[in-house]
């Protein structure tokens, strides 16, 4: 592999990893603060992508669609927390798993009813629709750089939230404990609702910006969810920093794995997970940053 091909794969790895991080950070935040495992988290990614498709078709602009989509997904998050997830706080893991599994089925069928099962493409917004030339034959799409850039900005914002606010202090302490949150002077119901909405928005946003690159297809929620689980297992649950490191590791393993050993396809990621499980069963970073 020559230098420029390597560079392209490296940039792809980082872009994929950062996107995964966005989705996984939502999952790990919700678990870290509220102690809920949410299997339907991948569905939010899928919903985001399908929203990007429908809204950009309606409005003619992906960027407008994204703004609208984030607002809508936060509203969805607030609604879901109020209607369903608030009932899960005291329940055991099996019940949480089952309820959110049921939710996946509902989301998938609703999507099927409302938008159908077709695969759709979403156009890259005009401003980003060009490539940086690397060699005579190779170039790198600016949109992908934009994606990575956006993810980095969000990662920094998340870092600020976690390192510099009281809410963040709680996340770092790994408190999924209502009394502890209340004692910090925060309105617990509001906090939980906001955190959940934030998690949903992160996943949906990731789906929206990924749409032009990965297309919009029915199984996308499932595939991203399982990889997210691998990210969280490797990175350590409740650790946002761990999610970042793990997501980048997975981005590298998956991208280079597919290029170097095509027959192994998606298995490289699981082998990585198995290896980490042998070495550090609690993940690379324990709870908290």
């Amino acid at each position: 592999m020559d230098f420029y091909s390597f560079l392209i794969q490296l940039l792809n790895s980082v872009q994929y990893g950062l996107l995964l991080f966005l989705v996984a950070s939502g999952l790990t935040l919700i678990f870290g603060i509220m102690g809920i495992i949410n299997l339907a988290h991948g569905s939010f990614y899928m919903i985001g992508a399908y929203m990007a498709f429908s809204l950009s078709t309606l409005s003619g602009s992906l960027l407008v669609a994204i703004v609208l989509g984030v607002v809508l997904s936060m509203a969805l998050g607030v609604f879901l927390e109020w209607a369903l997830f608030s009932r899960l706080y005291k329940r055991d893991h099996l019940e949480q798993v089952l309820l959110t599994y049921g939710l996946i089925l509902v989301f998938e069928e609703l999507r099927s009813l409302i938008v159908g099962n077709d695969v759709h493409g979403v156009n890259v917004p005009a401003i980003f629709n060009w490539s940086i030339p690397l060699t005579e034959t190779l170039s790198y799409p600016v949109y992908r750089l934009f994606m990575s850039g956006v993810c980095i900005v969000l990662a920094v914002l998340l870092w600020l939230l976690i390192a510099k606010t009281r809410l963040g202090m709680m996340i770092r302490a790994g408190a999924s404990n209502r009394e502890m949150v209340a004692s910090l002077g925060l309105n617990i119901n509001l906090v939980y609702r906001l955190v959940f909405a934030l998690g949903v928005a992160l996943a949906a946003f990731a789906g929206m910006i990924a749409a032009p690159v990965s297309s919009v297809y029915p199984g996308m929620g499932t595939s991203v969810l399982i990889i997210c689980f691998v990210v969280v297992v490797i990175g350590g649950i409740g650790s946002v920093w761990g999610a970042l490191v793990a997501a980048l590791l997975i981005g590298l393993a998956d991208t280079f794995g597919k290029v170097l050993i095509p027959q192994a396809a998606g298995v490289t990621v699981y082998l990585l997970m198995a290896a980490i499980l042998l070495w550090r069963p609690e993940g690379l970073f324990r709870r908290g940053i």
Binding site: L84, R91, L94, E109, L110, V233, Q263, E282
Partner: protein, 320 residues
């Protein structure tokens, strides 16, 4: 206690006599349910009695099915007595292999890694040449039960298959009953109740969990084999997480922590599936909504409904 024994005996009798109703469709349907009941029982050992919530149990179900699919020769029938033990063994070994990694972690991690490993198995069968890919494998012949010249039953005959599965279901049920009363089984239940104390008392908890995982996997492989036997066809969807989710659902439908509950759950699930898919092609929506409603309003499953009903009838708490 006697009332429950009578109810159980009646149910067993009904099941035994069922094929006499003559309906080929329903005989095959109930066979399918009994196969799923074996699958659910295998998971119940893990979830209901050892306290390990696995979201990847379909992997071993699929492995059992694929063993038959891969071993079945193209131009003649496979031998039941050869292929069945192999399927159980391979599924058990696969479970031990995964278990060695997975049993190290607890709680949420465990759920996630079991799902992830099952997905890995799914990929192997779906995307590689080993499993013949996403189209699956069709078998031209049902396995034969021949031992030399003696053929005790004919697996191409739906009624024979029904009774074969029925006997296996009964054997699995009795085996698990005995297992749970043994020292090994009680240790598992101790682990579910208070793993920390078990370790403190001197039990090597990791090994017990691993053994439970392996046995559960082997029994799931048995169920998968029977599925392949009945339908003559295997495909990667047998290892999908929908399958893993559905079998967990059967446990909650029937109420966890009871062997009969697993069987009841299997019946309830298939009944729901049949009814819903008759109503609409988007039946999974109804299924999903039902699951959500069940978890919110009926966490004890149908067993808790039965208990409340029983309490109204005879008063007082039901005994063990």
């Amino acid at each position: 206690m006697t009332r429950r024994r009578i109810a159980l005996a009646v149910a067993v009798l009904l099941l035994a006599l069922f094929p006499l109703t003559g309906s080929a469709f329903y005989t095959e349907l109930v066979t399918k349910v009994m196969i799923l009941a074996i699958f659910a029982l295998s998971l119940d050992l893990l979830v209901g009695y050892t306290g390990l919530v696995s979201f990847g149990h379909a992997a071993y179900y699929g492995v059992g099915a694929y063993v038959l699919g891969l071993m079945a020769p193209k131009y003649e029938a496979a031998n039941l007595w050869l292929t069945l033990p192999v399927a159980i063994a391979v599924a058990g070994i696969a479970a031990l292999a995964v278990g060695a990694f997975v049993v190290r972690v607890k709680g949420i991690y465990f759920i996630m890694v079991t799902l992830a490993f099952a997905q890995m198995f799914y990929f192997v069968f779906h995307d590689t040449a080993f499993g013949r890919g996403s189209d699956g494998i069709s078998m031209n012949f049902k396995p034969t039960a021949a031992i030399g010249a003696f053929v005790p039953f004919d697996l191409a005959n739906a009624t024979h298959v029904y009774y074969f599965v029925f006997v296996l279901l009964a054997l699995v049920f009795v085996f698990l009953r005995l297992l749970l009363r043994s020292t090994f089984g009680r240790a598992l239940q101790g682990i579910r109740s208070n793993e920390h104390r078990m370790r403190s008392l001197g039990f090597p908890v990791y090994l017990y969990k691993l053994a439970s995982f392996g046995i559960a996997g082997a029994l799931a492989g048995l169920a998968g084999y029977l599925y392949a036997l009945q339908f003559g066809f295997v495909n990667p969807e047998l290892l999908s997480w929908h399958q893993s989710g559905n079998v967990l659902l059967m446990l909650i439908l029937g109420g966890q922590g009871s062997l009969i509950g697993a069987v009841v759950g299997a019946f309830a699930f298939v009944a729901m599936e049949e009814i819903y898919s008759a109503v609409t092609t988007h039946w999974q929506l109804l299924l999903g909504a039902t699951i959500i409603a069940l978890v919110i309003f009926l966490p004890g499953g149908l067993a808790s409904v039965a208990q409340r009903f029983q309490r109204k009838l005879i008063g007082g708490p039901p005994n063990e």
